[in-house]
Symmetry: C4
Subunit: 193 residues, 4 copies
């Protein structure tokens, strides 16, 4: 049993790097005219979406680990597993942006979102198991509708790319909006005496 | 309500990465002669300016969060919003430097400065709201002349690029000099018994 | 004699960056078709292997330093020496992946694994020396079979590349699996009263 | 007056990134043969030298800040000034390595070393001023022979590049060896009752 401070520090480091190196996919345009920025626009939009997603993960990770006192091996690896999928964001983001939100890259982006959501769920379960079914986190997430709905919506979005890529993108934005409010369930419980 | 340590750690990480990856825009020159360094000079100068700006933001962020005890969702997102605009510094810096401070890139650089200044103001307001109008920070920033003047000067600078790019650059340097002194107002108040 | 917090923070930072910049070796593919992802597959597989290895090092580093109260110069440098070899992971991983696990790159990858394992052993020894033969860590690692076996297996794997590269790769995966369980010996001892 | 924890965290972050992105200057070689590694050898050697230098700076920074209780604006900026010059290490290292330790790049590398040494001295002075002439650090550094000798040796090395580049490189290695022992003066004083 060990403290969680290094787990948080390491996760913060990885998330900070992921969120920042995504910006490197926006290559400095060759000329000084504003028109050279136009091809960057889809890359910029995909960057904004991914920035928001990493921000959501950081916020929720922040909240979830707040309830955690000790880490064990399973939690350490569940956390690394989550970081692995999040580390693919720069690649998926760059591919989607540089190909103007084409079908294939949009589907791959959804795949990364899906795997990250599953990994987050596994980490949440690992923490609940280590704390007992009666723990603060277990009560806080409760039925965990958002947590269960998100992977389903990502899967639907991936299938939707066969119809139209923009359908999938709209779903990605929708799920992001659903999560933009940080996990107030935990905040609320913590505020109770 | 949660502690601010992870907010600080994450922000420090992102700022440390931004300030460091800007240096990657200065590509290693192809030959061993000093003359191959000459084209790097404008990139170097824009790097120095951006390094100072990120340093200013880190210092003031450091001071502002010092007065903060608890973070809420609004503060978390206001902080991420600030980091988003700061994350565009490497791109804006590289574009301005590689095009020898041409008009368009100089205006875009000003746009990033302007958005970051607005985001900083929003974060400051979010913190003051969470602490109450009577808080340490609220009293410390007072009329906040510098905070209100900076966005105006950036906007003026953007317009000035239509006249001459160097006018805008001079304004960017001027505002940086204004801020180079860290926010002594907070230091002074904290030093009071 | 100084605290270990900055040693941990610096190591976490370096490991977080190493694990994240490896992903930059997977260049965004040029076209939007899934077929353009195929050449990335070996790079992806080598990325997964290296991600797991860095994760193992981080976990075990985490556990080992947990038993440490004070750092001295020897520990500081033994730690930097370990980080040096780990910092070569992105290069070795990229070379192995981009050459489809060819013989030479596979051998070099093993060389980096071997040097990192030796460096980890030296760091462990430096900590035990500083704490005395009777310390918690000394008792926890005991005969340290895994620690002694790993470099041998890496050396065997390097030689095995002369026969077939996949033999070496199988050994790399095997050693990773051996280590995937975090060092429960220390956990167990710490759990004792 | 504020605590030093964020100053340490930010500096650790920047130093961790600098030490790690230098490895990106060693581009993955195009082919799978060991012969393709040969052109990397000078880049590797310059990487080793710079890794050791950043390690020395991190260690000494670690020791120096250990004696520090509070930071003021001057210390914050002296620290950023030091980080600025250290941030040029990847560029100077890459240029020197990729040009096989030619005269010009060797001189520039010395220039970066010289400026970093001066910046370190300024930071040391800022800390001593803030603590008073009688402080722990003031007594610990005493005459500070190494600190005064290093910039002189760097300057000599830069001049020596006009005779032969290897002379300068030998001096860089020599100064690194002088510093490789962490600042035991401070360790010794701290160990006193």
């Amino acid at each position: 049993m060990m403290g969680k401070s290094r787990l948080e520090a390491f996760s913060d480091g990885v998330l900070a790097i992921i969120i920042t190196i995504m910006v490197l996919e926006m290559k400095v345009p060759p000329g000084p005219e504003f028109s050279t920025l136009v091809p960057l626009l889809p890359v910029f939009l995909s960057y904004v979406l991914s920035f928001v997603y990493i921000g959501i993960y950081w916020n929720n990770h922040h909240h979830m680990l707040h309830t955690l006192a000790h880490v064990n091996g399973r939690i350490l690896w569940a956390n690394l597993h989550l970081l692995f999928w999040l580390s693919l964001f720069p690649l998926a983001t760059g591919w989607m942006g540089q190909n103007h939100f084409a079908q294939g890259p949009t589907a791959l982006y959804g795949g990364v979102l899906l795997m990250a959501a599953i990994a987050y769920g596994l980490l949440q379960r690992a923490i609940i198991v280590s704390q007992g079914r009666d723990s603060l986190l277990a009560r806080a997430v409760g039925g965990d509708l958002k947590g269960k709905l998100s992977p389903v919506l990502y899967a639907v979005a991936i299938l939707a790319t066969f119809v139209a890529a923009w359908l999938a993108q709209a779903l990605y934005v929708l799920v992001a909006l659903l999560w933009l409010v940080p996990d107030r369930r935990i905040e609320r419980l913590l505020a109770q005496p």
